[in-house]
């Protein structure tokens, strides 16, 4: 079983609960994701599945990524130019040799002319080297996938591996289930201690000036004579990986690839998020696998 799925935050709204109260929900477009690689302990030292999500333009996708996804790579302009030059050179040499052979008819034998012909024919026929390398890689995976906007690795629990090319979607989540949502929070820039760490700031009245949002003392004096490491100060805030745990799924629609979770999740609308099954679900799946392993 896959432990997580990739998605996009679509925005917040509210729905009415069973007793008529409004529940705040975040709508997430969850999947569909394509399995692009299956990692195993034998080949990679750990178990994971790489998922591709979203679409990207072929021309904007790096060639190494296309190779990884099993695409046939066209020669680049510079490679094509080099091939043309090589072919041209080979033709010129062949012609030169043929001319030499024709001039010195008495010295030239039939075999020499044959030799010139074969070298002339074999050189331009050479396929671009990169194509053969891609073909070799393709032999392992089978089909060309994507290209995708993002590739991310997710864990697997309890055996049951998917194959490369399999598509996973929101059907893996059910209403009432608990999930963790992982995303990148909105960047706040250089923020002061009140916003960043929730400090209270200084007094605003009684003759104070310039103290309303100041951090106050940052430590003792001569002993230790330095500021302790980890002292909370102003600085860059946000744009961090944030995990919100145990959110309840209020709505799930596999057809539209959407799920709605109760509460807020990190990042802007349209931001990439990972929806991971809740710790209890994962633990249960892991236990199930252990039991079947012991049984078998």
């Amino acid at each position: 079983m896959l432990s997580a799925l990739l998605g996009r935050k679509m925005g917040m709204t509210q729905v009415f609960g069973p007793n008529g109260g409004a529940i705040p929900v975040t709508v997430i477009e969850a999947g569909p994701c394509t399995v692009t690689q299956v990692k195993s302990t034998a080949s990679d030292g750990y178990e994971a599945v790489q998922l591709g999500f979203g679409t990207a333009k072929l021309k904007n996708t790096p060639r190494p990524m296309l190779g990884h996804l099993g695409h046939t790579l066209q020669a680049t302009p510079s490679q094509r130019r080099r091939q043309q030059l090589q072919q041209q050179k080979a033709r010129q040499e062949a012609r030169k040799k043929a001319a030499e052979a024709a001039q010195t008819t008495e010295a030239a034998t039939e075999t020499e002319a044959d030799e010139a012909e074969t070298t002339g024919a074999s050189a331009p026929k050479g396929e671009p080297r990169i194509k053969s390398a891609a073909a070799k890689r393709r032999a392992g995976s089978g089909q060309a996938l994507g290209p995708f906007a993002v590739l991310r690795e997710v864990g697997v629990v309890g055996g049951d591996y998917p194959d490369v090319g399999d598509v996973v979607d929101a059907a893996m989540f059910a209403v009432g289930e608990r999930v963790d949502v992982i995303g990148t929070s909105k960047g706040k820039g250089f923020a002061g201690v009140m916003k960043r760490h929730g400090f209270h700031g200084g007094p605003r009245t009684h003759g104070q000036s310039d103290r309303a949002r100041a951090p106050g003392s940052i430590g003792p004096g001569t002993t230790p004579g330095r500021v302790l490491k980890g002292t909370r100060m102003a600085g860059r805030m946000g744009n961090d990986r944030v995990t919100i745990k145990e959110l309840e799924i209020v709505q799930a629609d596999a057809e539209r690839n959407l799920i709605a979770v109760k509460g807020s999740i990190p990042g802007p609308n349209g931001g990439l998020v990972m929806i991971r099954k809740g710790s209890q679900v994962l633990a249960a799946a892991a236990r199930g696998a252990e039991r079947s392993y012991r049984g078998g």
């Binding site: 709204t13 709508v27 477009e29 629609d253 539209r256 959407l258």
Partner: protein
């Protein structure tokens, strides 16, 4: 799919088709479902719509009425709330503002509104 379509898809199922179009300045009777123990009864809140905001399932309005001892009472409702049985429009009044907060400062004769004829 676009952001708006997906968010709307979540709300769709709960949107109530039977809600009338209400405007600021309307006098309305809101029939509320009130649960008392195991019994459910209907309570009516009648007053003037002084505010209308939000979109889709989040559309909400505020009703102001004058309660006992001339105390103004305001209550906000979600238009599509399942707790509202039905909404009756008593009359449309002529108002020139979207939010009728100025009604809070008016009492008695000054708080009268002209009925809309259209």
């Amino acid at each position: 799919m676009s952001v708006a379509t997906l968010v709307r898809a979540v709300e769709e199922a709960q949107l109530r088709e039977d809600r009338p179009q209400i405007d600021p300045g309307d006098s309305v009777r809101v029939h509320l479902k009130v649960v008392e123990g195991t019994r459910e009864r209907i309570q009516i809140f009648e007053g003037l719509v002084i505010r209308l905001r939000g979109d889709g399932l989040r559309r909400a309005f505020t009703v102001r009425r004058i309660g006992a001892h001339n105390v103004g009472v305001e209550r906000s409702f979600l238009l599509h709330s399942p707790q509202i049985d039905k909404i009756e429009i008593v009359r449309h009044n002529v108002v020139r503002r979207k939010n009728l907060y100025y009604m809070r400062g008016l009492t008695g004769k000054a708080a009268r509104l002209k009925e809309r004829r259209d």
